[in-house]
């Protein structure tokens, strides 16, 4: 999806997975999203470089939407909306 085409969103929840390695960020993400309602948005912070592909694959396989993915100073930030 192109930048600017993403709908406006409000972050409902933040998951700090910095310092954690595979499979922990995804395990924690799954747990957090399970407690959220459809349409709610979670922001995930991670330092594991593997999280880039992992988060993308997790969203694709579980039917959740990765709205944004960025990196700054070794910290990856992901914005995920529960559901499609």
């Amino acid at each position: 999806m192109m930048k600017g085409m993403v709908d406006e969103y409000v972050v409902n929840r933040t998951l700090d997975a910095r310092g954690l390695f595979c499979p922990m960020p995804i395990v924690k993400l799954k747990k957090a999203v399970k407690e959220m309602a459809d349409g709610e948005v979670i922001k995930v912070l991670a330092t594991d470089p593997g999280s880039k592909r992992d988060v993308e694959a997790w969203c694709r396989k579980t039917g959740n939407s990765l709205l944004e993915a960025s990196e700054a100073d070794g910290v990856f930030t992901y914005i995920i909306r529960k559901g499609g």
């Binding site: 499979p23 922990m24 395990v27 993400l29 396989k61 039917g63």
Partner: protein, 140 residues
């Protein structure tokens, strides 16, 4: 998501740390993807399911002398211990743990020697029935 859930079946044949970690890491990753995982602990793998077995697991062969150092690295990196990995797997509700009945007889292990996380004691045929329906089958 609908449809039948995906399944993974893993034969855990070794009780050393280098093999137990990947088995639990794959199982916990799978549960995050809503994949149901079945772990069949057989032969040397079964020693991991004895009380205190996970804590006592070492690196294989001559590398065993480096076990303490490895555990130190694991702690430093913030990677969970094997017992914590198992607890996480069980908490997800998606990971089933099976103990091989023949190995129990061979190694003189009684049911009460096993940790409570074991779901069932089964034979190879019961596991085969599960593995035949699985989307991923691994031997570790």
């Amino acid at each position: 998501m609908g449809g039948e859930r995906k399944k993974m079946a893993i034969i855990v044949h070794s009780g050393t740390m280098d093999k137990l970690y990947p088995a639990f890491m794959l199982a916990s990753s799978a549960s995050a993807l809503d994949v149901e995982t079945h772990l069949f602990f057989t032969f040397w793998g079964l020693s991991a399911l004895k009380k205190g077995g996970l804590e006592a697991a070492k690196l294989p062969g001559l590398m065993r002398i480096g076990t303490g150092m490895m555990k130190g690295r694991i702690r430093e990196a913030g990677v969970p211990t094997l017992s914590e990995m198992l607890a996480m797997c069980k908490e997800s509700g998606d990971v089933k743990i099976y103990a091989c009945s023949t190995t129990m007889e061979l190694m003189k292990i009684r049911e009460e020697d096993l940790i409570p996380e074991v779901d069932e004691i089964v034979g190879a045929t019961a596991f085969m029935a599960i593995a035949l329906d699985a989307d991923i089958q691994l031997f570790i």
